[in-house]
């Protein structure tokens, strides 16, 4: 029910009349606190401590993006669901290599199965040559069972993803959106820019959901917990990236919603303009609120709820109640 708010304008965000208030030249807008789940800031926004205190009180996360649209960081308010027990369990599963591998492999498995589902979907739409890529991914995945180190596991995950990405040109089939190869920091063409932007949105969405559970986002399993801040959201996002972000990109392109003028070149890289970001986010929000029926749940759940359910499944695994089995899409 609660909805995220996206701020692209420059201005001041503050607390006013016990609610959120955004003010810039000519624009004055109250945002209902009780109905806000998180705030995404893309513009140049000023805020003060009193405002952050208020956000902590209302349990709202703030995500910042820089002017290139890259993720900068989040204001992660004090945990309101505290559980020493859960932290111990998370640490236990991290420190014990076998337990860590079990979880890490589950994430890779989930990611691989969902990538395969995406390719299968397009195969059923008449792109026959995808079969070769699915075969190759299957082969790469098979070697996963004997692995006993996280580094090799990540390498295999990388290989699977590379195979998956190399099939993109077949799926998209649009001269304006040639994929060629995955480039990051900076992404060098339109499609890479979309993937990067979509993935960083996905990471923040999962992070926001983790905030609403007892899990600690700092302890991840596939991505090692070192001195970076959050890793668990990266792990969980792997599962959802193919079915949410990649599918979204394909559908946006096939509907001709993106034009070359939505991009601009900068520092050898390619940037998305605000207008295109808004359109992308709008479509993403729509997708996240789409409800589907899921086996074993029986009820209609939205994709956003599905992410939360995934986190609860991890909690159950950590507590030793039920083995974690990643979500694999049915379509």
């Amino acid at each position: 029910m609660k909805k995220p708010v996206y701020i692209f304008s420059d201005g001041v965000l503050k607390r006013k009349n016990n609610t959120l208030f955004f003010e810039s030249e000519g624009v004055q807008k109250f945002i209902p606190v009780e109905n806000t789940s998180e705030i995404y800031i893309f513009g140049e926004v000023d805020l003060n401590k009193r405002f952050l205190e208020f956000l902590t009180q209302s349990e709202i996360i703030l995500h910042f993006f820089n002017r290139y649209g890259y993720y900068v960081g989040s204001f992660y308010p004090r945990e309101y669901l505290n559980s020493g027990y859960m932290i111990l369990k998370q640490a236990e599963h991290y420190l014990d290599l076998q337990k860590r591998l079990t979880l890490a492999k589950a994430f890779v498995k989930g990611a691989y199965k969902n990538m395969k589902q995406v390719l299968k979907y397009y195969q059923s739409r008449g792109i026959d040559s995808l079969d070769r890529y699915i075969q190759q991914m299957d082969n790469q995945f098979e070697s996963i069972s004997g692995i006993d180190s996280i580094a090799t596991l990540m390498a295999i995950e990388g290989n699977i993803r590379q195979t998956y990405y190399s099939s993109f040109d077949l799926i998209i089939d649009d001269d304006n959106f040639k994929f060629e190869k995955r480039t990051k920091r900076p992404p060098r063409n339109a499609i890479n820019t979309l993937i990067s932007f979509g993935n960083s949105m996905m990471y923040t969405i999962v992070l926001s959901e983790i905030y609403r559970t007892h899990l600690d986002p700092r302890i991840g399993y596939l991505h090692s917990t070192n001195f970076r801040r959050f890793t668990l959201n990266l792990d969980v996002a792997e599962i959802f990236k193919p079915i949410i972000i990649d599918r979204l990109i394909f559908s946006i392109i096939s509907k001709n919603m993106l034009k070359p003028e939505h991009f601009e070149e900068d520092f050898e890289g390619m940037l998305l303009k605000d207008e295109a970001k808004k359109m992308f986010i709008n479509e993403l929000e729509q997708r996240l609120s789409t409800t589907i029926t899921v086996k074993n749940i029986g009820n209609h759940v939205s994709y956003r709820q599905l992410i939360r359910i995934e986190l609860y499944k991890i909690e159950k695994h950590l507590m030793g109640e039920k083995e974690y089995d990643p979500y694999v899409t049915q379509w």
Partner: protein, 87 residues
């Protein structure tokens, strides 16, 4: 649940009603609010409003829709506040 809330409140308490409603729903025009809200939040809103208002004299009407599916929204003239999720 999608909700439209309108109030007709004595001038003395109008500001109070406005402030409470702004926390839960989007302001649309003078004394009209609308927005997606959960049942629990709506209960909270009603409670807060009834504490601030004089229910002998003031009047608040709340329209609830289970779904927006069969509804449409038209604006004649000026849209005083657009309900976009982007600012």
């Amino acid at each position: 649940m999608y909700t439209i809330l309108v109030y007709d409140v004595n001038e003395k308490r109008v500001a109070k009603a406005l402030k409470v409603c702004r926390k839960y729903l989007n302001w649309v025009q003078n004394s009209v609010f609308e927005g997606e809200i959960s049942e629990a939040k709506l209960k909270k809103l009603k409670l807060e409003l009834s504490q601030k208002l004089n229910l002998e004299e003031d009047s608040v009407i709340i329209y609830n829709f289970q779904t927006k599916f069969y509804s449409s929204r038209e604006i004649l003239g000026v849209e005083k506040n657009n309900l976009d999720r982007f600012i």
